[in-house]
Subunit: 247 residues, 2 copies
């Protein structure tokens, strides 16, 4: 016989504790970035690599949609794709990220091409897309709940970039400004859905494991970035080199 | 060395010829339906089974989106999902199909449940979703080109249903009315995309094979429907029986 599930409130606290312990706001690279300690090339390396994550988010959400047979749930989830892909030229998170790329002196078409992305970034991001494509819907939704912890990092980032870097202005940081309103709305729905659907201890464990997995996906990207461009700064063959891909 | 590809015009004619020969407007069940020869139970059987196809179309399109790394192509393709899932309660092709279900006396919740769908319908439809999820993008797009042939069948159906059946009115046939404007816009884009991307004879062959495959997916559904409910009328165990699922 299964153990009893945690209460809704206990389980919610468990999810929040995962963020407190593991979310990538604690990664040294983010401290360096937000405090103004990054060189422009380190910022560029972050922009190039993080683009790959951004670019796969709508593909991940479409993979989720493709497995949902309730058109009402699809309808609610679909606006995540709209947020990222936009509705017309010049709108959506992906094009906003490319404005940041242009702002730091990169050629947006180079960034879009995917050339120069660290293999470890690809491996981590592709693992996330595969997870959402293949795992049961409960862990698939739970893996999105890192958005619970995103508003704080976005606020810190906006303040830190504006204070410390010449490239930062309303246009170049518009991606983060939009996420401040989008992420809380998305995660309010996702959290309720997970709390409603994780009604056995096995379900709760699978959802918690999915959220831990997702924090690992985010953390591994920063470890790879830090290793290549900060400490020890050993850039893998084929990855972006300072001077490449400039506008 | 490969054979030379067909010219754009030759290849386009080849695609059209596939429809002329194989599209399901030639299936005897459609002749029976449009001419008023169906009993109400045969219409209900069609509505129950065709719902499964309708319900999987946005999942198929999401599976396609999940594989497209160009956000502009995703943005263009995304409106297919919007057309089917709608933007608010009461909108979209799936809910319009459920109005048809209600119009023929079925309980829309029964139809949505998927109970009673013929196994052969599931097999055919699931094969289509799998095809779009797994095959290269060119055949995945080409498999949607049966929409080239859809306007005629929708016009025939609207006229035939309105003339021959008491249940047919503006509300119950609104699904087909909407498809009259949606399908030509979608297929205009899809056809251009296929013509632009099928630039080798191997690519052209794969696109033509995909379109043939899709006509088989449609035809097989009608053969199964006809076998179960018309001729010889042998309903497989577990499939919808007259009297079930009524409102």
């Amino acid at each position: 016989m299964s153990a009893a599930p945690q209460s809704r409130e206990e389980f919610k606290q468990r999810l929040h504790a995962i963020g407190d312990e593991r979310y990538h706001d604690k990664h040294p690279f983010h401290h360096l970035l937000h405090s103004g300690g990054c060189t422009v090339d380190q910022v560029r390396a972050w922009v190039v690599n993080r683009y790959y994550y951004q670019s796969r988010i709508p593909m991940k959400d479409a993979a989720f949609l493709s497995r949902v047979d309730d058109h009402r749930l699809r309808r609610t989830w679909r606006h995540r794709i709209e947020d990222h892909d936009g509705t017309t030229e010049g709108t959506g998170g992906i094009e906003r990220w490319l404005k940041l790329a242009a702002g730091v002196g990169l050629d947006p078409e180079y960034v879009r091409s995917g050339v120069g992305i660290l293999p470890a970034t690809r491996f981590a991001v592709d693992a996330y897309v595969r997870f959402v494509r293949e795992e049961p819907l409960l862990p698939a939704v739970a893996s999105s709940l890192t958005e619970l912890f995103a508003p704080k990092i976005h606020k810190d980032r906006i303040a830190g970039l504006l204070k410390n870097y010449n490239f930062a202005n309303e246009e170049t940081i518009s991606y983060f400004q939009h996420r401040l309103s989008e992420a809380p709305r998305d995660v309010a729905f996702g959290l309720e859905w997970v709390l409603d659907n994780a009604v056995t201890i096995e379900g709760q464990d699978s959802a918690a494991a999915a959220l831990i997995f997702k924090t690992e996906v985010l953390w591994a990207q920063l470890d790879a970035l830090n290793s290549a461009y900060v400490d020890p700064g050993r850039i893998p063959l084929g990855a972006w080199m300072p001077g490449e891909g400039l506008a």
